[in-house]
Each structure stands twice: as structure tokens, then as C-alpha cells.
């Protein structure tokens, strides 16, 4: 263990440069984020991940945000285990009938001010699963959405870009 720790000390960090913020996402967001909230929360944001029925592909890439290459916490963003502690809900998947109520209750359990970020193509409108008897559709049909991050699944850099955009808005 000491050898690995020592090697890590001597190596250059793997962590990548912060991506620039996405202007298109910023425009989508501009309308929905109040400046007051920004001042009240400062930079630090707590994120609660909600899987509303995804294939878990998006979760894999969200998990990757915590690895040494993307290191989400350096931006003051971190994942929490309860919506009660969250400022941001990161929602993935088409919303399935079984998860609709859970998503609504999670939203209601999150204290104001709060933002909802819908992650992945399915979260936009149900994506490839839309029309299924088990699926309601996109996240915005159930709770208000402030930002969409598209992709199937979006790459960690795209997720990072979206979240930083949220932070800067």
C-alpha cells in the first residue's frame, strides 16, 4: 500500500482540466435560476441522484465523475444520500410508472431552492423507451426540469460541463 501511495505522490495528477461551460445549456438555464439562490448557496452544491427507470448506463457515467480523472468534488459538487440534504436532483431514465410517485416524493422532500437536472436522452422524452406501456415519458412531465444533459449516456465531460454551467449561472 505504501508503494502505491508513494507512486501516486510522485506522479502528475490524472485529473483533467475543467471543461468550459456550455453556452447552449447556459441559455436554457438562464431563465430558471435565480441569482438570489446562487448567493445563498455559494458554490457548493449537494446532488442527489434519482434513477427514475434508466438502464443504469447514465449511472455508470455519473459514477465516473468521482474517479481520479474527473474529480467532481474539486468544484464543490458532491453526492449525498438523501434528498433532504440536496440542492440538485440529478434524474436519469425515462420515468416509469413504478417510479413516478417515488420521483414526485423525492422532489417534494428536497428543500428549496432546488434544481432538477435531467440526464440522458431517455430523461428528455422517454427516448428509445417512449411509447412503452411501462413508461410515462420524460422527467419534465413529472417534475419541473431546469437543465437537460443529453447523450446515451452523456460522457462524464458532458455531465461535468452541464453541472458547471448550473453552478456558474
Amino acid at each position: 500500500m505504501r508503494r502505491i501511495l508513494f507512486d501516486s505522490l510522485m506522479r502528475r495528477p490524472l485529473t483533467e482540466e475543467a471543461p468550459v461551460k456550455d453556452e447552449q445549456m447556459l441559455a436554457e438555464l438562464g431563465a430558471s435560476v435565480a441569482r438570489v439562490a446562487r448567493r445563498r448557496l455559494g458554490r457548493s452544491l449537494s446532488i442527489r441522484e434519482v434513477d427514475a427507470g434508466s438502464c443504469n448506463g447514465c449511472e455508470l457515467e455519473i459514477h465516473a465523475l468521482n474517479n481520479a480523472f474527473y474529480d467532481l468534488e474539486r468544484f464543490g459538487l458532491h453526492f449525498v444520500a438523501s434528498p433532504r440534504h440536496a440542492d440538485v436532483l440529478l434524474v436519469t431514465g425515462p420515468v416509469t410508472r413504478n417510479m413516478r410517485e417515488a420521483l414526485e416524493r423525492t422532489y417534494n422532500a428536497t428543500p428549496d431552492p432546488k434544481w432538477v437536472v435531467a440526464v440522458g436522452d431517455c430523461a428528455v422524452d422517454g427516448g428509445i423507451f417512449s411509447g412503452s406501456y411501462a413508461v410515462i415519458g420524460g422527467v419534465s412531465g413529472v417534475v419541473p426540469v431546469d437543465l437537460h444533459i443529453r447523450g446515451c449516456p452523456p460522457q462524464p465531460t458532458q455531465l461535468l460541463k452541464g453541472l458547471l454551467t448550473l453552478l456558474e449561472a
Binding site: M1, R3, I4, L5, L14, D51, G53, S54, C55, N56, G57, C58, E59, L60, E61, H63, A64, N66, N67, A68, F69, N98, I128, F129, A134, C152, P153, Q155
Partner: protein, 312 residues
Amino acid sequence: MAGASLDTAARLAGRTSGDSTVAYALAFAHAVEAAMEVEVPPRAIYLRALMAELERLANHFGDIGAICNDASFALMHAQCGILREKTLRAAQSCFGHRLMMDAVVPGGVARDLGPSCVTEVAALLEEIRHLFPQLVELYDNTASLQDRTATTGVLRGELARQFGAGGYVGRASGRAFDARKMPGYAPYDRLDFEVPVFEAGDVNARVWVRIREVEQSLALIDQISRGLPAGAIRVAIDPADEVREGLGVAEAFRGDVLVWLRLEGGGVARCHLRDPSWFQWPLLEAAIEGNIVADFPLCNKSFNCSYSGHDL
């Protein structure tokens, strides 16, 4: 999926459980090819196996790290996370997608390798071969970690056999089944590899199955890179109007994925995708019996059953 075209159905199959997208797309393709009695070009068969083994590597790295993380051993998690990320990046550069979604299609594969890919994969293997043995040594020599994984969450071999559990859950409890060997499919019949089996059935054994499988996958990728045939990567499949049925299987990192389908009128009439987790979730309940609450995350992570693949 009922009524979907072959293309859409293949994309849906690849999104049954995102972590096993290659295995699902492969099992689905096997089923379609069985139904239509189609021969897939040899190059495509090898490329499929390359993707399947990269997927297995990425997931096993993720799991080994995550299991140790649940015992608060963050160093392993961070180091395994680096190996996982590097594997995904190699997949991105070779197949155009980090998880290799939609790369396996009925009739072959969607994209061929770029010219630099064989060297890139070789570089990835070299890096893994340099770092991974150190991590294995670390796992094996850390008593506080072993204390958490050894004799924890024991699944009896008898139960594993009774439920027909595949993957690391079965193989850590003495059940040697691996779909790549039995019934077996190309190109694994031409490749040399072993199926590691342990008898203890505890969290530790499930970690060791993964460790040994990483080593086997590395050896397999070597053989695949060396033996990669030239030629076409896809044959066109024209679903006829007649009714056809097919059954396909593929070994995902967590066990055997089985797909049955009926083709009718140029599309998929009915389809069933059976995740390996169907035979593993019930066993988790048996494995946690008598364990302390703090060990539940370890037991759960060592099973790593699919949520989306199971609750369709």
C-alpha cells in the same frame, strides 16, 4: 419491443442493463442469427469477443474497487477506478462509445477498428498488467480488508446449483458454468482460457473470481488481437415474411444472458431477455442471513445484481 424493427429492437436489447450492453446486444444478435440461419463474418466474431472482454474488464475493475470501498478501503476504489476509466477510454477510441453501445448488431458489428486500435489495446493491456498485480497483492495482504470479506455472505454451493446461478455468484460457490464454454460460441471455441472456480462462496471468493477473470480476459484479448481475421464485418439480414424463432446466449460479466425471440413480418413479434440476476437476487437473501448489518453493502456489491435487467 413487440412490433419493433430489428434495428430498434437491437438498440433496446442493448439498453436492458447498461453495464452489460455488449453482452445483451450479442445475445440478441445470436438469437436473430439463429432464427435467420445467418453466418457472421469471422472478423465480426473476433471484434465482438474483443468488445465483450473489454466490457468484462471494465465491470470487474469497477466491482473489485467498489467492494473494497464498501469496507472503507478507498485506495483500491480509486486505483481500480483508474483502470476502469482507461478501459472505457480505449473502448471509446476503438469502437466510438465508452460502453460500446450499439456496436454489436445482428449480422456482425457496426464499426470496424481504426488503424491504431491494436496498438492502443496492447498499451492498455500493458498498463493493466503493470498495475493490477500490485492491487491484487494489496488486496491479498491487507488483513483488515480480508477480515471483512473472508467468511462474509456465504452462499452454499447447493443453493447456487439449485437456482442455476451463473457468473461470479455461481463460480464462487463451486458452479463452473460459463456460457462461453457451454453451450459455447465462436470465437471462444478457438481460444484458450480457463473458467476460475472457487468453493468458499463468500465475498472474498466472489472477489477472487473477478480477479482471476480479469487475468483470463487479458489473455483472451491477446489471443483475439493476434488472431484477428481480415474481411467483412457485417452481413445484411433481411427478415423474411415467414415466422422464425431463435434463441441466443452470451456470457456477460455477471453471468449468462439469454434471449428468445420470434420474428414476424420483418420485425420482432415477441422477445424475452433473461438477465443473469433473475437467479442471483433470490440468493442474495440467503447469503446475507446471519451477517451483521454493516456487511450488507459488501454482500450486495459482491453480487452486484442488475436492477434494470431484472425489473423489466
